[in-house]
Structure formats: structure tokens, C-alpha cells
């Protein structure tokens, strides 16, 4: 079974802190994604990566950056956390674009 894990289920950070969210997949997938999930808005794509060291902006990249140094690991970075970044963050991966994305359990981030 494909497994996508995220470093934390719950995280509380203060405004202005630098926050790292990590995602690891164990199925050698080329493509990895970071979404945020907010009530009434569904999932919105922040960034995705189709290869090591490659990244593309999604719909809402402002305030975020990403890093993919190894194929299995995709990190989301909040350079200076703000309260409007309080949300559920979901990581996903897939082997081939257009096919099933496998999701991690999510990280619920609260910025106070």
C-alpha cells in the first residue's frame, strides 16, 4: 500500500515564526502536492513538484515556499506564519499525472 506521512497531526505556532511541514511518501512517486483545506473552499493547491528540485506554483503560493531535495520528501515552508495561514494542510503524491493522488493524514496548523 502507498503510504504518505506528514510530520505532525497538530501544530500550534506563533505569528512570525518559520514553520516547516514535512511530507514523505514511500512509493517512489514522481509527483507531490501541498494543499490547504478550508471549510466551504474545498482543497486549494499551494505548490506541487514533478521531480526532485522542481516545483510549480499552485493557486495560492503567496506566503509559502517548498523544498524537494529527495524524491520521497516534499516540505512546505511558511516563512513568517500569519493567522490567516491557520488551516488544514494536506500532502499528496501520485505516480502519473491524471491518476489517483494518495493523501497524507493532514496537519492542522493553528497560528496564534
Amino acid at each position: 500500500d502507498v503510504k504518505v506521512t506528514q510530520s505532525s497531526r497538530y501544530l500550534v505556532k506563533r505569528t512570525g515564526e518559520k514553520v516547516f511541514l514535512e511530507c514523505v511518501q514511500d512509493m517512489d512517486h514522481e509527483n507531490m502536492f501541498w494543499y490547504r483545506q478550508d471549510p466551504g473552499l474545498g482543497l486549494r493547491l499551494i505548490y506541487f513538484s514533478y521531480d526532485v528540485k522542481m516545483k510549480e506554483k499552485g493557486d495560492i503560493p503567496e506566503g509559502y515556499s517548498v523544498s524537494r531535495e529527495k524524491k520521497e520528501r516534499f516540505s512546505l515552508i511558511l516563512e513568517s506564519a500569519s493567522t490567516n495561514q491557520t488551516s488544514m494542510y494536506l500532502c499528496a503524491s501520485c505516480l502519473t499525472l491524471g491518476y489517483e493522488q494518495y493523501f497524507g493524514p493532514g496537519t492542522r496548523l493553528t497560528v496564534t
Binding site: 514533478y50 510549480e56 499525472l97 493523501f103
Partner: protein
């Protein structure tokens, strides 16, 4: 802009009955994929069903089936013989075939199955 709309924020159904969740999308693309994902309470999102737009036959997976109307840009999910474990948030999603893989999600429909 490509969008996915789920017009039913919440729905409920009695156990063993059938329920249909609605989804419409807007795109100028001709080739694309459509998905329904399920997110149970406090659990991971999983794929329910996938449809390729060039296939006219509606996809089915056990108790789950879709009604894909390409001309109407409609992609509804039918759950037959509803079970308590079907209680979840359901998301409709779309990705163009030659896109860089960017899934576009609807707002979600919360389904509660009542005993």
C-alpha cells in the same frame, strides 16, 4: 477559469438507502479526468471513483457509481445501499489530461448516513 461546483454542502441519508451527490464543472478542455474523493472524519482522503472523459461508459466501483454527462459538464456520484461507514465529506475533482497534474476540487459535500 476551470471550476468545480458542489451545490450541496450537506446531505443525509438513511442506512441502506440510495443517495446522489451532485457535481458540475466548467472547462474548455476536451480530454480530462474526473474523481470523487472521500474524507471520513479525522481520517485520510481516499479515492472513491475515477472517470476518463473520453470514455462514455459510467464508472462503477461496487456500491458507488457515477452519472457522467459530458455535454452538461455534470458528474454526480450515486451511493447505493448506504452504510454508516459512508459518512464522510465527499469531494469532486477534475484535472485536464495534458495539464501538469493540478487537481481542481469542489467545495465538498458532507454526507451523514443515519441508522
Amino acid at each position: 477559469a476551470q471550476t468545480v461546483t458542489q451545490s450541496q454542502p450537506e446531505m443525509s441519508v438513511q442506512e441502506a438507502e440510495t443517495v446522489t451527490l451532485s457535481c458540475t464543472y466548467d472547462t474548455s478542455e476536451n480530454n480530462y479526468y474526473l474523481f470523487w474523493y472521500k474524507q471520513p472524519p479525522s481520517r485520510q482522503m481516499i479515492l472513491v471513483i475515477r472517470q476518463e472523459a473520453y470514455k462514455q461508459q459510467n464508472a462503477t466501483e461496487n456500491r458507488f457509481s457515477v452519472n457522467f454527462q459530458k455535454a452538461a459538464k455534470s458528474f454526480s456520484l450515486k451511493i447505493s445501499d448506504s452504510q454508516l461507514g459512508d459518512t464522510a465529506m465527499y469531494f469532486c475533482a477534475f484535472v485536464p489530461r495534458h495539464n501538469t497534474g493540478k487537481l481542481i476540487f469542489g467545495q465538498g459535500t458532507t454526507l451523514q448516513v443515519k441508522p
